[in-house]
């Protein structure tokens, strides 16, 4: 299942114009400073922001197409999404958060719960299954956010800064969870500020500037030969 999109958005003074193609089982990392359009790109693919022009296709199916006016609502796109700031459901437990997607899609409670517990164990939160989400620390909450996005066996994974609040010790198991989900043969787009995430996880790195692509290549290739001083700054974490 390939994710293929040409995303064009014009909102006020902001313009985004990006084309991407993510084959099944591979990860596209997107880097760029705040305001470069990374989050908007994800929100368009997720169906939260309408296209001005272009299209979003997943496995040959049109999720959105500005030409035909097609816009599949977010909940019918079959995606696993972690938006910026996580947005856990504070009144639900960590387990209920992770089980939310499967439950919403009709998976039986017991099955959803045991799958959620397994994922929570994977991200190192086995002891927090019953903790209310609004009582979790920032790092714990972020791990639940990733587990929640992965839990619904999505057809594609969209993650916005999924590791930002994690320290060096907790990152690897969470990255591993993402890697396993992708290995089931789905495409993933990961927005990040941290080059290490791109190097560790991504097949392709896309660097954005003011809503447009400035460089694309393997993460190691981009680091080795940044095309502009701006790209050099972005991958160094300075922009």
């Amino acid at each position: 299942m390939t994710l293929e999109a040409h995303v064009r958005v014009a909102r006020g003074g902001f313009r985004l114009d990006v084309a991407l193609r993510v084959p099944p089982g591979s990860v596209l990392a997107v880097m760029g400073p705040n305001g470069s359009g990374k989050s908007t790109l994800l929100e368009v693919i997720a169906g939260l922001v309408p296209l001005t022009a272009g299209h979003v296709r997943l496995g040959g199916e049109d999720l959105a197409d500005a030409a035909t006016g097609r816009h599949l609502p977010p909940h019918e796109r079959g995606l696993g999404v972690a938006l910026q700031d996580g947005l856990l459901f504070g009144h639900l437990s960590a387990r209920e958060n992770v089980a939310f997607g499967p439950r919403a899609q009709g998976v039986a409670a017991a099955a959803a719960r045991s799958a959620a517990d397994a994922l929570l164990t994977d991200v190192g939160l086995a002891g927090h299954a019953r903790t209310r989400a609004d009582r979790l620390s920032g790092g714990q909450a972020q791990r639940v956010v990733v587990a929640r996005a992965v839990a619904a066996r999505p057809r594609a994974l969209l993650l916005d800064e999924p590791f930002g609040a994690l320290d060096a010790a907790t990152r690897p198991p969470v990255r591993a969870v993402v890697r396993r989900a992708v290995a089931r043969g789905i495409p993933a787009v990961v927005v990040t500020h941290d080059l290490r995430d791109a190097l560790d996880l991504a097949d392709v790195l896309l660097v954005l500037q003011d809503g447009a692509e400035v460089q694309r290549g393997t993460p190691a290739g981009v680091v080795a030969a940044p095309s502009t001083p701006y790209v050099e700054q972005v991958v160094a974490g300075l922009a």
């Binding site: 909940h75 999404v81 938006l83 459901f89 939310f100 899609q105 619904a152």
Partner: protein, 266 residues
């Protein structure tokens, strides 16, 4: 210097209550409270305040929902109008209610001539007076909760495959419930303590409009011990609501919500 002022400020709030508790004839309290006149006022107060809270929920939650949507034009005007009773002296509210619903009032005249209904000086008038004063508390508390349960969270739920109806049922409504409960509790205590609007618009008739605060005021002249007993009763009721509000219920209030969000981010 700041600490001294803070201590004085605390004293202003706490010392009167200390005086009240010291003056309370604790051993005679059951007998004083068991007085038929006191029980009558207590029953009326609880009943009217409960009615007020119920009506406030029915009218206030939709109003809060409208206010919480920023894209609504003129929302600022609506919010200003809702806030006015908060800063208005309750007596003025009572006078305004009389001018609207009194026998010669804007609406009251028609109600009287067409339906033979007179609102002032009835238990319904007590509820209306309490509603005027306490509805804003509920509206603002619920609005804060609705804003806290921001729409991005509902969107996040949708991206996980939840239909809008499922999101409303499992995310939006449950996350707002504590705020609604907190608003209702605030509304109830405010209604319980209402004096100015009630005495102006509903008068002070035993059994129909003489609520606890009115009874306390009257008893202060004739039976001071009873006034103290009733005051302590009201104090205990209010504190009970406050205790019930603590913890999860208070989580719906805007300030508490903000504090919690900060904690999660920290």
């Amino acid at each position: 210097m700041l600490v001294v002022l803070a201590v004085v400020g605390t004293g202003v709030l706490v010392l009167p209550l200390v005086a009240l508790l010291l003056a309370t004839p604790w051993s005679d309290l059951p007998a004083l409270v068991a007085d038929p006149a006191v029980l009558q006022a207590l029953r009326l107060s609880l009943l009217t305040a409960a009615c007020t809270t119920l009506v406030a929920l029915v009218l206030g939650v939709p109003l809060a929902w409208v206010l919480a949507h920023d894209d609504l034009r003129g929302a600022w005007l609506l919010r200003s109008l809702v806030t006015v009773p908060l800063v208005l002296p309750p007596v003025v509210g009572g006078v305004a209610l009389l001018l609207l619903l009194g026998r010669r009032g804007l609406l009251g005249r028609s109600l009287d001539t067409w339906f033979g209904v007179t609102v002032p000086f009835t238990s319904a008038a007590v509820v209306l007076a309490q509603l005027f004063v306490s509805l804003p508390f509920l509206v603002l508390a619920v609005e804060g909760a609705l804003r806290g349960a921001d729409r991005r969270r509902a969107l996040a739920a949708q991206t996980l495959g939840a239909s809008p109806a499922y999101v409303l049922r499992r995310v939006t409504l449950p996350s707002v419930a504590p705020g609604v409960a907190a608003g209702a509790a605030l509304c109830f205590t405010r209604a319980l303590g209402e004096f100015g609007a009630t005495v102006t618009f509903a008068g002070s008739f035993p059994g129909t409009t003489r609520t606890m605060p009115l009874a306390v005021y009257l008893a202060l002249d004739t039976a001071p011990e009873q006034a103290v007993a009733m005051s302590v009763l009201l104090l205990l009721l209010s504190v009970a609501v406050l205790v019930a509000l603590r913890g999860r219920w208070l989580g719906g209030l805007p300030a508490a919500h903000a504090a919690r969000t900060t904690r999660v981010r920290a």
